[in-house]
């Protein structure tokens, strides 16, 4: 065909890069949305976080050399973007009081909780049902505890790395992790007692 200018090398390369990016988006957007929604407890905000994340990824991709760790790199970016939105949002919210920490008497002896109650009498939950309950109970934890638990115990991010992401020192991360687990344990106790977990 006449009139059509010959595509030069740089155009072709740019087109290839865009195609590669398109592929990268489609291959990864699913888990990124899921992760952002888990952190933000909100599907719409998760979309914003993922959009911001991909904008950063696109900018950084050119200079990103460690292809083997591409997914880890993207994971950190989306976590960061989600955390940023969470922080912005949280200024409006009061931190709930966490009353789930165990009690000890004057001798440092554990005071055992009395009768845990559970609203539904349903038994023999399916694995899917118990997973949903666990997920819901995690979602109800105070943000400060919830985020540490999600990153460490679900996403498998190291304590040091969680500290970096949240700008906290490691001992603080560890204290929060323990408190988060204890708070979740208390919420799941009715299931545990009935052997559903």
């Amino acid at each position: 065909m006449k009139g059509q200018p010959p595509t030069d090398q740089s155009d072709k390369q740019a087109a290839q890069e865009e195609e590669g990016f398109d592929r990268l988006v489609r291959d990864n957007i699913g888990w990124m949305l899921f992760l952002a929604a888990r952190i933000l407890n909100d599907g719409t905000k998760a979309e914003d976080a993922v959009q911001n994340a991909f904008s950063n990824i696109h900018k950084g991709l050119e200079n990103f050399e460690n292809r083997a760790n591409l997914k880890t790199w993207m994971h950190r970016i989306v976590v960061n973007e989600a955390l940023m939105l969470l922080r912005k949002d949280r200024q409006l919210k009061e931190l709930p009081i966490d009353d789930s920490y165990p009690l000890f008497d004057q001798n440092g002896c554990r005071v055992v909780d009395q009768a845990v109650t559970w609203e539904t009498a349903e038994m023999n939950l399916t694995a899917q049902q118990t997973r949903e309950i666990v997920r819901d109970e995690i979602a109800k934890l105070p943000d400060d505890l919830r985020i540490v638990l999600i990153l460490r115990d679900i996403e498998g991010v190291s304590t040091a790395e969680v500290g970096k992401l949240l700008e906290l020192n490691e001992p603080t991360v560890r204290v929060r992790l323990h408190r988060a687990r204890v708070a979740l344990k208390k919420r799941l106790e009715p299931l545990i007692v009935r052997g559903e977990l």
Partner: protein, 100 residues
Amino acid sequence: MNLLVDRTRRRIHGVLFRLPGIVNCEEIEGFILDYLEDELPKCQRQPFNVHLAMCKSCRTYLADYKTTLTATAALSNEGDIALEDVPEDLIAAILRPRCP
């Protein structure tokens, strides 16, 4: 557990936990994370195990704690949304700025 039994148990433990080399439940609480990550120094591991052997409420507590960890970890491999469930306009919005 009935309140009277619990109070008696705690009175006995209150005496036991004052013995040299014995840690109380509250101290155990602070050790759990390290214990489970195998980072508890040997000098603390021994008292930890001795306490567990004596204290049913801490044994139950630790078992429930571990169950909670397992239940949480079970969520780690479910993290995906199928591409067909991702809103197409979101993908379009992500790709748009790069196509002038």
